[in-house]
């Protein structure tokens, strides 16, 4: 109470000093006894001094306003007679990337990175959710592995791991903190039953040839190395020694974003509502009519508002993740007659996947890898306090509803826990502390990414459909798309196997993996 009064007194005295300097006003404060017996300052109830104080302040404010108006009137100011929303994207851009997840920003970074000398290319990244609350990137478990069966996937992962190893050489910004991905070098452990053991061996050979550091273990060796695993039913195990583990996806996204924006990429929060395109009708040998479309402008609508800005662009990159199929429909892909080229839609749709955080005090320690069982259930360590992240991919027939991101806790009890407890007996005693759900940009055709230009649209590039391994391949895919756009062909990695052609010829490139 004393301190408060002292403070009050200091403030009053200060104000008294200021007013003394400009106007001759008598001291308006004096000591008065108050109700509690102590002494307080009270102001005399004379209005003379107070009015003069107010007048002075008002005068100051008016002078400042006049100065501002005069400065605005001068030629070098930004003042406009009508208000413009500063969040609107520019009216023209060279490349519009739809989707601000890790894939979109990776492409934006590589585009700017490759364009060394003519820094005049305007790249715009449009993202509809500033909080990234539903983005697959940040809801991902964040793992990276080279244990695939397709060569393209293995190379993409290896290159991305190389990128992350030297991430500060690529993505550091002057005078900012270095990037810290919190990479856990713990490796992946895949367990195979009798039926799929031969597939695992084939995959192991492919991976070794491609340069991945993987080793095969027998059940006894697995038991020796990880005594907390129940090796019943396991015929073979495949273990990643290097370049495998998990990291923080948000850090990677922010690193890409920060570096890209420092190189001049423009970020816009808005939703792509429409495309304006021109059509060119071509006839095939059989007399079939094909419409080739060229996108002329993208209509970007501001969030929660009717305001929109048509952005004229040369190229559009579809990196919208789970919603790429919907975006493609806006341009008319898939809306043609069923048996024609125009009838093939982009086979990407959102699929909901649950991730549960559990706490188990007696669980595996620092050496626990990202374990993936042949039944599809997986788990990994999270932090040092005995927390683990687990989940399972549901069967085709039991896919959950994708209209929201609500978590079904019964799913954990029915599908995840029994298999998990069977594989790791220590997990019989655990407690679910948290859970979330995220979308996979699920490629219903063959669950592998689609990278490349669409045959019917002249200037729309796709980098989507990665079905759960987009995050781990994003640096390499970004570079590949940038090469495709700027050089016209793949330079470092040949990803022509992942182009649209396989969808049109209906030749799926399936992963012969167990998950």
């Amino acid at each position: 109470m004393c301190a408060w009064r002292r403070l009050h007194r200091n403030v009053r005295t200060l104000r008294g000093c200021f007013t003394h300097g400009s106007l001759n006003c008598t001291a308006v404060t004096q000591w008065q006894p108050d109700r509690c017996g102590g002494l307080t300052f009270c102001q005399k109830l004379s209005t003379g001094g107070a009015l003069r104080n107010d007048f002075l302040n008002e005068l100051k404010a008016q002078m400042a306003a006049m100065k501002k108006k005069a400065a605005d009137g001068l030629p070098s100011s930004n003042w406009m007679p009508f208000e413009i929303n500063p969040n609107l994207p520019p009216e023209t851009a060279d490349i519009v990337i739809v989707g601000g997840g890790v894939m979109g920003w990776s492409i934006a970074y590589w585009l700017k990175q490759k364009e060394k000398f003519s820094k005049k290319m305007r790249v715009l990244v449009v993202e509809r959710d500033p909080t990234y609350s539903q983005a697959s990137t940040v809801l991902s478990a964040g793992g990276i592995r080279q244990q695939f069966s397709l060569l393209e996937n293995i190379h993409l992962s290896l290159e991305s791991a190389d990128f992350m190893r030297n991430i500060n050489e690529h993505l550091s910004v002057v005078n900012e903190d270095p990037v810290d991905l919190q990479f856990n070098q713990s490796g992946y452990l895949f367990l195979a039953s009798e039926e799929v053991a031969h597939i695992m061996e084939q995959n192991y050979n492919t991976q070794r040839c491609a340069g991945a550091k993987v080793s095969l273990f027998s059940p006894q060796q697995v038991k020796e190395k990880f005594p907390w695993i129940n090796t019943e039913g396991v015929a073979l195990a495949s273990y990643g020694l290097e370049n495998e583990g998990w990291f923080d996806p948000w850090s990677l996204l922010n690193a890409f974003r920060r570096k890209a924006m420092s190189m001049g990429v423009i970020q816009c929060f808005g939703e792509v509502a429409d495309f304006r395109h021109v059509k060119q009708v071509l006839m095939t040998k059989n007399g079939e009519q094909i419409d080739m479309k060229t996108i002329k402008s993208v209509k970007v609508q501001m969030l929660n508002s009717l305001e929109y800005q048509p952005v004229e662009c040369a190229l559009v990159v579809n990196a919208a993740g789970a919603f790429s199929g919907k975006l493609a429909k806006m341009v008319g892909i898939g809306l043609g007659p069923k048996d024609s080229l125009a009838g093939f839609s982009v086979p990407v749709e959102p699929r909901k996947r649950y991730v549960y955080v559990v706490h188990c005090p007696d669980g595996p320690g620092l050496d626990s890898p990202f374990l993936i069982d042949y039944s599809g259930v997986y788990f990994r360590r999270e932090g040092l306090g005995g927390n683990y992240i687990c989940g399972v991919s549901p069967e085709e027939a039991e896919e959950p509803d994708t209209s929201n991101l609500e978590v079904d806790h019964q799913f954990f009890e029915d599908k995840v826990w029994p298999k998990l407890a069977n594989r790791v007996p220590a997990f019989e005693k655990l407690k679910v502390t948290s859970a979330w759900a995220g979308f996979y940009d699920y490629n219903t055709f063959d669950q592998n990414g689609i990278i490349g230009i669409h045959p019917l649209i002249n200037n729309m590039y796709f980098a989507t459909g990665f079905s759960g391994h987009g995050l781990q391949q994003s640096p390499a895919v970004g570079r590949a798309v940038a090469e495709l756009i700027l050089d016209g062909e793949f330079k470092t990695l040949d990803l022509s196997g992942l182009s649209f052609r396989r969808i049109l010829t209906q030749e799926p490139m399936l992963e012969q993996n167990i998950v």
Partner: protein, 267 residues
């Protein structure tokens, strides 16, 4: 001094007076490389010199270009030192190539079956006697306070290393530790104390070294809850003796450690 340093890298054959100057700069080179131009990640506050350079770099393009050039020279030097010594490998074989690499960076090693250590002295000079021991693999390596990094580790690939000391190396990070899986069958002693870039994620990679008997993880600045990490390491490598000095284990840890666990770590 730094300009001379840059020129020296281009000269293929180094003449005698320049060698001594070069070796004088070698220790400075470690510091140059260690001090990153991209932001203040170190725990200590930036000095007056670095703060004033930052201030000038924000205002003048030429200062910024000079600083970029300086950091690029440092990175280039790091890269050149840690190249895969393919030429030496072709001429003399993998063992001599590894030995030459170690001596070039300023470390020391011991051949299998020999008891004497070959070291480079503080001025970078070393004895060329190691060329006499053809086809003898290297068993113990001491590369403390050198600029060895992940790429340089490929020079030591084929050696059945039993001891590896990389104390105080500014370029040893988590990926380096993951790369140690190449020595998983032979490595028995590892010293990674005082390395500023190692975090818990890298320590998890040590699970592959199943024959490890001695591990020194003292004074790793980027470990947030050292007591808990030491206990987890002990659980992960049960037959290994872990030395961990230089941590203040009396403070309450971030990981919610209980008092009993703290006593266990100190005991």
């Amino acid at each position: 001094m730094f300009v001379l340093h840059g020129l020296l890298l281009e000269v293929a054959v180094m003449s005698a007076p320049l060698i001594s100057l070069h070796r004088c700069c070698q220790r400075a080179a470690v510091l140059l490389v260690a001090r990153r131009h991209w932001g203040s990640s170190s725990a200590s506050p930036p000095s007056l010199v670095s703060r004033s350079l930052d201030f000038l770099a924000r205002r003048f393009y030429d200062v910024e270009a000079l600083l970029n050039w300086k950091s690029r020279i440092g990175k280039d030097q790091l890269r050149k030192k840690n190249f895969y010594y393919g030429y030496t490998h072709k001429l003399y074989g993998p063992d001599i190539a590894s030995a030459y690499y170690i001596l070039n960076l300023g470390g020391g090693f011991r051949f299998v079956g020999q008891s004497e250590w070959f070291r480079a002295d503080s001025r970078g000079k070393f004895n060329w006697d190691f060329l006499n021991y053809k086809d003898t693999p290297v068993e113990e390596v001491d590369m403390s306070h050198t600029i060895i990094n992940y790429v340089g580790l490929s020079n030591l690939e084929r050696q059945p290393l039993r001891t590896l000391k990389v104390q105080g190396c500014p370029e040893v990070d988590d990926w380096f530790l993951a790369g140690l899986h190449k020595f998983q069958d032979s490595l028995e002693e590892l010293d990674i104390s005082h390395c500023p870039r190692i975090t818990v994620g890298g320590l998890a990679a040590l699970r592959n070294l199943r024959w490890l008997k001695h591990l020194n993880v003292s004074s790793l600045p980027r470990i947030s809850s050292p007591g808990l990490v030491i206990i987890l390491l002990e659980e992960m490598l049960p037959q290994c003796r872990i030395t961990a000095h230089g941590y203040d284990l009396s403070q309450p840890q971030v990981g919610g450690e209980k008092p009993e666990e703290r006593l266990e770590a100190e005991g």
